[in-house]
């Protein structure tokens, strides 16, 4: 038997191409005669459209067309709901208001498209934007979450009775009972930060209509090629196979690129068919900030009930969730928040209510972390406040309430984003805590180091928090694995890759069954012309779902190869092995047949075949889990704060994570690194700010602070636990979001710890130095 290719840090197959400038990203695709689109976006946050005058813009040399909602005629209609709400939660309310591709009667956020220009170059298209005159009746902006439901709040969708987008209550046990029996009940108003996905590459879409073959070729930076293809087909009245939607290389996704039914995929293909010209739209950075989706904005009224010994009796969390001007992405984010408040703790009584509200802000859809970090932030903050109240050490309080391994799998009783009950499937939570506490030398820091530092007037603080990462949710993904006549292997799927390393990890999974060098395995991701079925890249589900499908398909192909080889080599299957690109007799290795030869033989060109025979050395497989797999971990931070300037330096960062089997540990660590960077960004740098009139005032990297190299700690110290998930044959859980989930809660605990004797009482997940300065000033005054 050859060596396993699983749990090995293979260098990535895709690297040489990307490193040498041979990547092929959306804006790298050019066609002769291609026309370029620029979008006229509203400067107003809330307004009624009186008139849009495009006449002057049309006169500019080089401008080919200008379209408004009116010009789209019958083609204009509100988009479909990309994610429906779950039906399993009784009594829940959801008012679906999906996106309008171009605003027709009303503008609901600043940055909303009102017209598109098609021109010979992007430069000319942008010139024309200045000559589109938008005449509006400005309306009052609605932005403050807690005021959106006031009786006198202006209505964003005027056919609704209020700005309520959804109301969902879930309860396990009885909060009332827990509160009544508790020794201590703590209530806090907790606010989570509003951040952007900010992939380095902006979004883009190219559409080319082939009028001879009636085929629409589309290249898009989407994280969900199949849903986008289907959406375009439905809009344009085409069959699915008349559209070939392809992912080029994608320069980062982080959530917002999953959104479809926006102006790009609705209007650009329509223009391509209308003008019969290749059409390109590539978003610029300011548009990305204004018009692409963002996340994290919630206001929680959270309570925790405990006994004096620290035992949690219950948690109540009623929160406002900002969905922006529309809610095309359903309930995914706030449902994640509901499931993640529980985290890894034993909470017998839990009441949670979502009040999803419309605001005059950009649409909210998942950004790496997607509701999870908010839930973790709320729970961990509550525990910190409780520890303070009870005079307990924060780590001790956590120890007391962690679910022990023997309680797993643990059914939480809360319906999650995959519409089924959230289950904590596997792991050893206390061990993750102890591993981190040991590695960061928590006891020593608290008992020996910190007292000395304090005596020297230094402000260093330590934080340790726990987290879960709900990953790998359904419904399903699929893949096809094929051995070619050259003996090389090809994997096709319609997932989407934005840098996660699928070209390598999926190859590793197939190689493990097929005994081929991973360099001889090519992977096609996100080409609907090659594979028809799938959902998309979200919820850290790629390797678990597609990987399992690839694994299952590879097992089938291996089986097929063995069957065929058994006949050709006249040897029973169990005496054969698949290795080094051949099937051979285990004891007589020189007696073999190559996989390429088998592939030839698997497609007979003359003669007859047995009934039921399936040609080709290929197989397809689908995988859909019963529910998501839950990763988890523990983060420890030591922060060094200059009390005079409130500048914060991360002195140490230790993370323990359990994402089940690591297909490629190098890539797993890379995912943790990137997640941590976003988490650090959320806690200390990144912050989308709207002014009181609904203007986004942070629409550039001058004001939206992108975490830089020197903002990171010297080292991300990563510890691993590996508890294979029982849900899939390879035992995988996702890892994409862990780092982004855990940082803010830990950051705030460490900050509070750094200022001994002061009650900073931090209730928000963003803490820039100026804010910290004022928190300290306030605490000093108290």
């Amino acid at each position: 038997m050859t060596e396993s290719t699983i749990s090995k840090s293979f260098k990535r197959n895709e690297d040489p191409r990307l490193l040498t400038g041979n990547g092929n990203y959306i804006d790298d695709i050019d066609f002769p005669g291609m026309l370029h689109v620029a979008i006229k976006r509203s400067d107003y946050a809330h307004a009624r459209i009186k008139k849009i005058d495009t006449e002057e813009a049309k006169k500019i040399p080089g401008v080919v067309a200008v379209y408004t909602a009116e010009d789209l005629g019958d083609y204009w209609r509100p988009g479909p709901l990309q994610v429906p709400p779950p039906t399993a939660i009784k009594g829940s309310v959801f008012h679906a208001r999906p996106l309008e591709c171009i605003a027709k009667h009303k503008i609901r956020f600043s940055g909303e498209p009102v017209a598109v220009v098609v021109a010979e170059s992007r430069y000319i298209a942008e010139d024309a934007l200045d000559f589109i005159y938008l005449d509006v009746e400005p309306l009052q902006y609605v932005g403050e979450l807690e005021k959106t439901l006031d009786p006198d709040a202006p209505l964003i969708h005027e056919d609704l009775e209020s700005n309520l987008a959804a109301d969902v209550v879930q309860e396990v046990g009885s909060w009332e009972k827990a509160a009544a029996e508790a020794d201590v009940v703590i209530k806090k108003r907790i606010v989570t930060n509003h951040v952007a996905g900010a992939a380095l590459e902006n979004r883009g879409l190219i559409a080319v209509w082939d009028d001879n073959f009636k085929i629409l070729n589309v290249w898009a930076t989407t994280q969900g090629p199949i849903p986008m293809r289907n959406s375009i087909a439905r809009y344009l009245g085409l069959m699915e196979n008349q559209i070939r939607l392809m992912n080029p290389d994608i320069g980062g996704g982080f959530g917002p690129k999953i959104m479809s039914s926006q102006i790009d995929d609705v209007v650009v293909p329509w223009i391509a068919m209308k003008l019969k010209k290749p059409i390109k739209w590539v978003e610029d950075r300011r548009e990305n900030f204004l018009g692409t989706t963002s996340e994290r904005d919630q206001v929680h009224y959270a309570e925790i009930a405990l006994k004096n010994d620290g035992t949690i009796l219950g948690v109540k969390d009623v929160f406002y969730h900002n969905t922006g001007a529309y809610n095309p992405y359903g309930m995914t984010i706030p449902l994640n928040t509901q499931t993640h408040v529980i985290s890894i703790y034993n909470i017998p009584n839990y009441y949670t209510q979502i009040k999803m509200v419309f605001t005059n802000q950009m649409v909210v859809t998942p950004v790496r972390g997607a509701g999870r970090s908010h839930g973790i932030f709320v729970m961990e903050r509550l525990l910190d406040f409780a520890a303070k109240e009870l005079g307990m050490d924060p780590v001790e309080l956590r120890r007391k309430n962690i679910l022990p391994p023997e309680k797993l799998p643990f059914r939480t009783g809360v319906i999650g984003q995959d519409f089924v009950e959230n289950v904590l499937d596997s792991g050893n939570y206390p061990l993750a805590l102890e591993k981190t506490v040991d590695a960061i030398e928590y006891e020593k820091f608290k008992k020996e180091i910190q007292p000395k530092l304090r005596a020297e007037g230094k402000n260093k603080g330590i934080g340790v928090i726990m987290f879960t990462e709900g990953t790998a949710v359904g419904p399903y993904e699929g893949a096809k694995v094929m051995v070619g006549v050259t003996g090389k292997v090809n994997i096709v799927c319609a997932y989407s890759n934005q840098g996660q390393g699928h070209y390598t990890t999926l190859a590793q999974i197939a190689a493990n069954q097929l005994g081929v060098d991973i360099k001889d395995i090519s992977v096609v991701i996100g080409d609907t012309g090659q594979w028809q079925w799938g959902v998309g890249a979200f919820a850290s589900r790629g390797i678990t779902l597609v990987g399992t499908a690839v694994h299952q398909a590879s097992v089938k192909v291996r089986e097929k190869a063995l069957e065929l080889a058994s006949k050709l080599l006249n040897t029973p299957k169990d005496e054969l092995e698949v290795a080094d690109g051949v099937v051979r007799v285990a004891d007589v290795p020189e007696h073999f047949i190559s996989l390429g030869e088998l592939a030839m033989r698997a497609n007979p060109t003359r003669g007859t075949v047995e009934e039921g025979m399936e040609p080709g050395l290929e197989a397809a497989s689908y995988y859909g889990p019963p529910h998501g797999a839950t990763g988890y971990g523990c983060l420890g931070l030591i922060l060094d704060i200059d009390p005079e300037t409130a500048k914060v330096k991360i002195e140490r960062l230790v993370i323990t994570d359990d994402c089940g089997t690591n297909i490629n540990p190098m890539i797993v660590d890379g995912q943790i690194h990137g997640g941590l960077q976003m988490g650090i960004g959320e806690a200390f740098y990144e912050n989308l700010v709207y002014d009181d009139y609904g203007q986004l005032v942070t629409a550039s990297f001058m004001d939206y602070l992108f975490p830089q190299a020197t903002d990171m700690p010297e080292k991300f110290e990563i510890k691993h636990l590996v508890t294979p998930s029982p849900l899939n044959p390879l035992g995988i859980k996702g890892i994409g979001e862990a780092g982004a989930i855990c940082v803010p809660a830990c950051f705030m605990q460490a900050l509070e710890d750094a200022f001994e004797g002061m009650d900073l009482d931090i209730t928000q997940s963003f803490m820039g130095p100026s804010k910290l300065f004022h928190y300290v000033q306030k605490a000093k005054g108290a």
């Binding site: 610029d284 950075r285 300037t645 740098y685 700010v689 602070l705 830089q708 130095p769 100026s770 004022h774």
Partner: protein, 291 residues
């Protein structure tokens, strides 16, 4: 994010450049390194109708020592060239330190010494350095030359005494006196980012360690770089003490700067930074002077 169209002129000599600026008047704008102007043009915040690119006016790019021990720097000299110049680092180490805080290498490789001063961004390092080092600015137009002291040059955010037909041609730095120490102190949200408050200081001591002159330039805390007067008033002729420095720092923070509140920091926070940074700057400059 593509710039609006403009007319472009690339004179190859100084006289040609001055002719062009006179001809264009208010509709012309000088393009030096472009590192501030072009981003603004890409956002279409700036829409100059004509640019006069000085990139080919080679005679504006030089670093020359002056006989008195100072330096003369041509306006088109790249920041990174000044940063790496050995004589500059010998005569004005504080200038090198200051330049290292300008954005990142890629920007300093294109940004120009005079361009940054003429741009007069209130958050920029070089206008403040010019002020601190009492630079003499040579202003040229077709009509002739005039010299302006840095302290008289800046009149508002992005505003200077330059008329549209004029250009800043040379920056002359008078020599630093012996026993002069200096310090650069800045707090920005990120390395290379805009300062929330910044202080550059020089302190010159006499043989008895009494202060001959204390200069403190502040930037990013007002409409243009500011030269605080309190430090020299208090310290001149005195042996500097921690108490005196603290008193100065508190005074300057309260009375000699005008920071505003923006999304990154409140006025109160930034005044606090000025307080801390003035103290740190003077303390370090004094220590350096003693070396």
């Amino acid at each position: 994010m593509k710039p609006a169209p403009f007319d472009y002129y690339a004179p190859t000599s100084l006289s040609e450049a001055l002719d062009k600026l006179t001809e264009l008047g208010y509709s012309g704008k000088v393009l030096a390194g472009g590192q501030s102007l072009i981003p603004a043009m890409n956002f279409r915040m700036a829409r100059p109708t004509a640019l006069v690119d000085l990139g080919k006016v080679k005679e504006l790019s030089y670093i020359k020592p002056t006989a008195d021990g100072g330096m003369a720097i041509g306006t088109m000299t790249r920041d990174s060239v000044v940063e790496e110049d050995l004589l500059v680092s010998e005569r004005f180490p504080i200038l090198v330190k200051t330049i290292k805080h300008i954005a990142h290498k890629q920007i300093r490789n294109r940004g120009t010494f005079g361009g940054a001063i003429a741009h007069a961004d209130p958050a920029a390092q070089l206008p403040a350095a010019a002020l601190l080092l009492d630079a003499n600015l040579k202003v040229l137009s077709k009509a002739g030359e005039r010299w302006v002291k840095a302290v008289d040059f800046f009149i508002g955010p992005f505003m200077t005494v330059l008329e549209p037909e004029e250009l800043l041609a040379e920056v002359v730095l008078p020599p630093l006196a012996p026993r002069t120490g200096a310090s650069y102190q800045q707090v920005s949200r990120q390395k290379g980012g805009y300062a929330q408050a910044a202080v550059i200081s020089t302190v010159t001591l006499d043989g008895a360690d009494r202060v001959k002159e204390a200069r403190v330039a502040l930037f990013s805390v007002g409409e243009y770089p500011l030269l605080a007067s309190k430090p020299n008033q208090v310290l001149a002729g005195q042996v500097p003490t921690a108490e005196a420095i603290e008193e100065i720092a508190a005074y300057v923070a309260k009375n000699e700067c005008d920071p505003g509140t923006d999304i990154h920091g409140t006025e109160e926070y930034r005044r606090n930074l000025v307080h801390v940074l003035v103290r740190r700057a003077l303390t370090e400059a004094v220590q350096q002077a003693k070396k």
